[in-house]
């Protein structure tokens, strides 16, 4: 028995290794370009997934019980799906992929429960893994994959048998190639029956088909009966998901012309990567009153800089990315790479794509060592108080019924000038503009003073019961919490079996002392704000910080150093607090203020220094002439 087991194991290992090698070796038709700059025509057959997870039959639009087409088996006919689905947009679950610079987390929020929690499968400091918060792969996908191009958690096989059974019905959320590469204006990511809605209905298998212009999906997995089997559909199951294809889209051979482009159009990227900044007095940077990124205005698209090959290991575009990424373009398609040359000082790569090589006249070189390019060139112009920002992924922009009030949760503040953590130990931490959230969640603290969030089900049950009478604010803002309510919740959590319950909000940790009273600790690491770099929109050079005068930043009231960042919290006593920008730059008040103050006298320094050198120069000239006279006198005696 044991021998048989070992033999079977060896055979399966050899088989899987050879399969892997075969997949690596055998390039499919679309894996490598033949060099033509033209877009390949995609008049292709559509295939569904079979019950066994293999390639199913070709889609017949006349079949009333047709299955949704599978991108894995349709696109995978010519493109190695296995390689693509390991790309940056899909590989968050893979612990072997370097997390790289902290990026935008998925923000779970609930105004009434006082939660605003940054989640991610990537190992970014300050985020929590969804399973720590009690979210299964399917739950996480259902909530957040509306703004994902599929794959990743949506495609992973759960270890739990019940979850696997549920996945059999809902299907896997395959990488949706169309989300990025379909140039047809009918590609529907956020519409009434589009991709986002299908994901929220757990129609994972149907989501990609629903997003395209020639298929329509009705019904939902959640509404289907308990006996529903997608591979044995029953016509009487009216509420079950069903896809109907536009027959006109199919040619005589049953092929469909798809408007697939290699370079994703910017509108496709914008669905997940849009920002809206809400200033004071409800002033928003709406499209009609705001300029686009200068690169777009210049005629570039997102993928001109954010490039990838078949492996979809897309360039994120930050300095030092070469340490995290194997993409050979990582060094040359950052700001520095295009405008100045790559990180190794290869100037010949500078000026690519017509990028102007900046002279930075009068900017002391220390700025390039301490600041990211984006510090001066990107994001909204800094104001005395950073504004609330909305992002596609945090506020589900572009989907239906999005609340448009400026103060709707989650509260993301920008621009906050933060000193970044450096991946390279020899590198210098640079200051750059960031978006920032203040985590708020119910958690437990262990013996090492580490805080972990209490799972969502417990929070919903216990906290929801205690705070049931707290009114919901119509604007989507926080429902105000009082310290006594925090105390009641902490007590209830303790009674429900949570060890040492705490509440994190606004940079503070609330807990119960031995007497049962609420106490707070400031600046607990678990309560630290989570910030991620903001790179777009890039402003034109003439609108850079410091253009014309240094005092834009170097003055005692500059927004860059002395802007007041709101501390965000449902607790009134905390939300009235602010932090100054220099605190995020790890600078001291005295040093920052003194340096800014010195710029008042700087013109006089220049006058004195120039005057002194003029005097010294005149003395040197005078005595030089005298010396020349002496030489001339000696020479004249010869005559």
């Amino acid at each position: 028995m044991k021998r048989r087991l070992i033999a079977a194991l060896v055979v399966s290992l050899v088989l899987s290794a050879s399969l892997l090698a075969a997949e690596k070796a055998a390039k499919l038709l679309g894996d490598e370009s033949d060099g033509s700059r033209a877009h390949p025509i995609h008049r292709i057959p559509l295939f569904s997934e079979s019950e066994k997870g293999e390639k199913g039959p070709q889609i017949d639009p006349d079949d009333p019980l047709a299955m949704p087409f599978s991108t894995r088996f349709t696109c995978g006919e010519c493109h190695t799906y296995g390689a693509i689905s390991k790309g940056w947009h899909f590989n968050s679950l893979d612990g072997n992929v370097p997390a790289g610079r902290p990026g935008e987390p998925w923000l779970y929020f609930n105004s009434k429960l006082g939660i605003q929690l940054p989640l991610s499968y990537r190992a970014w400091p300050g985020v929590h893994r969804p399973e720590q918060f009690g979210l299964s792969l399917a739950e996480f996908t259902k909530i957040f994959a509306r703004h994902m191009p599929g794959g990743g958690p949506g495609e992973a096989t759960p270890s739990d048998a019940r979850a696997r059974a549920e996945q059999y019905v809902s299907g896997k959320l395959e990488a949706n190639c169309l989300a990025c590469h379909n140039a047809h204006p009918g590609q529907d990511q956020g519409g009434a029956d589009g991709y986002a809605i299908q994901v929220s209905k757990t129609n994972f298998r149907w989501a990609a088909a629903a997003s395209c212009e020639f298929a329509d999906v009705s019904g939902s997995v959640t509404d289907a009966g308990p006996t529903y089997d997608p591979f044995m559909p029953d016509e009487t199951e009216e509420k079950a998901p069903r896809v109907s294809y536009d027959k006109k889209a199919f040619d005589a051979k049953g092929n469909v012309f798809m408007e697939i482009v290699r370079e994703s159009p910017k509108q496709r990227c914008y669905f997940c990567h849009s920002d809206l900044f809400c200033g004071e007095n409800d002033e928003k940077t709406e499209k009609w009153c705001a300029d686009e990124d200068i690169h777009m205005t210049a005629g570039l698209t997102c993928v001109d800089c954010h490039r990838n090959g078949l492996d979809h290991n897309i360039v994120r575009g930050y300095e030092g990315e070469t340490a995290d990424s194997a993409n050979p373009m990582a060094a040359t398609t950052s700001c520095r790479g295009c405008h100045l040359g790559d990180e190794n000082g290869n100037r010949e790569t500078g000026g690519r794509l017509g990028a102007p090589v900046p002279l930075h006249k009068g900017i002391p070189t220390v700025h390039f060592e301490r600041l990211t390019c984006t510090a001066c060139h990107s994001g909204p112009w800094p104001t005395d108080k950073p504004v609330l920002a909305k992002t596609s992924r945090a506020h589900r922009l572009g989907t239906i019924n999005v609340p448009k009030e400026p103060r709707v949760l989650p509260h993301v503040w920008a621009p906050v000038f933060v000193k970044e953590a450096v991946a390279d130990p020899n590198g210098t931490a640079k200051i750059g503009p960031h978006k920032l959230v203040w985590p708020a969640f119910w958690g437990t603290v262990d013996a090492n003073d580490c805080v972990a969030p209490v799972d969502l089900a417990t929070v919903t049950k216990v906290v929801g019961t205690v705070l049931k009478d707290v009114p919901v604010v119509a604007t989507g803002d926080w429902s105000e919490l009082k310290e006594e309510q925090i105390g009641q919740v902490l007590k209830a959590l303790g009674e429900s079996g949570q060890q040492k319950p705490v509440y994190i909000t606004g940079g503070m940790l609330f807990e119960l002392n031995a007497a049962g009273a609420v106490t707070s600790r400031a600046d607990h690491p678990a309560a630290a704000p989570y910030a991620w770099a903001l790179a777009h929109n890039v402003r034109p050079a003439a609108q850079s910080l410091g253009v014309g005068k240094c005092t834009v930043c170097h003055s005692t009231n500059s927004a860059f150093f002395f802007g007041q960042v709101a501390v965000d919290s449902p607790v009134a006593s905390v939300s009235s607090l602010t932090k100054t920008q220099y605190e995020f730059q790890k600078a001291s008040h005295a040093r920052t203020w003194f340096f800014a103050f010195s710029f008042l006298f700087r013109p006089w320094f220049k006058v004195v220094a120039i005057g002194a050198t003029a005097v010294i120069g005149i003395v040197l000239l005078l005595y030089g002439l005298k010396a020349l006279g002496a030489v001339a006198r000696v020479l004249s005696e010869q005559e």
């Binding site: 009068g362 070189t365 060592e369 040093r591 340096f595 002194a612 050198t613 005097v615 005696e637």
Partner: protein, 216 residues
């Protein structure tokens, strides 16, 4: 590279001065402590000085203090930590720099006359010139005072170097130079400051030596 060269150059300068001090002794206290007090006292303003003399000495002392501060704040982070000057050290450096430039300008006006070269400063040169060119170059037969000649040379070197030293930084504060030139002016400032510092050290040492020789 600058770090290594600067450390070596300063070491050579100090070792040279120490050797010179030992090999060519002058009068004065033999005890190191009282010797140091004596040397320090030579730099102080004499009570018999005229008002102008006192002002010149005061200006010199302020310039010396400024030089020490500038040298410490400028060289310490670079030579010890291998970093660029930053933070409070930079603020102090930038604050003392214009004062130093001002003092240097005053010293240039008030000391230039007494530091003019004469034929007596290099009799060997005049003899050589007379022999080679057959010109009627006046020759001084007094023994050559090398220290005085080097002292004067150091003075003029200080003034000459002060121009690019100050201007290299001032010009970078205007919207004139791009990044490459900014790096160039910074390098100019750094390297000239090294030569300038050596010139000041030599000048100060010789000033003390000459004062001690006069007291004998």
């Amino acid at each position: 590279m600058f770090q290594t060269v600067a450390i070596l150059a300063l070491l050579v300068t100090f070792i040279g001065i120490a050797l010179h001090w030992v090999l060519t002794p002058t009068g004065g206290p033999r005890c190191p402590l009282s010797g140091a007090v004596h040397v320090f006292s030579l730099l102080l303003i004499e009570q018999k000085s005229s008002l102008l003399g006192a002002l010149k000495k005061l200006c010199y002392l302020v310039a010396m203090v400024c030089f020490l501060v500038l040298a410490f704040t400028g060289f310490w982070p670079t030579l010890v930590h291998g970093e660029h000057i930053s933070g409070f050290l930079m603020y102090i450096h930038a604050t003392f720099a214009p004062v130093f430039a001002l003092c240097l300008a005053i010293l240039a006006i008030t000391w230039a006359g007494s530091n003019r070269f004469s034929f007596a400063d290099a009799p060997w040169l005049t003899r050589l010139l007379r022999r080679v060119t057959r010109l009627r170059v006046p020759v001084d037969d007094r023994p050559w005072r090398c220290s005085l000649a080097v002292y004067k040379l150091a003075f003029w070197a200080i003034l000459f170097l002060a121009l690019p030293l100050v201007l290299s930084i001032v010009v970078s504060m205007f919207h004139l130079l791009g990044t490459d030139w900014q790096y160039f002016t910074l390098a100019v400032h750094r390297w000239i400051s090294l030569v300038f510092a050596i010139a000041v050290i030599v000048h100060t040492y010789l000033a003390v030596r000459l004062r001690m020789a006069c007291q004998e």
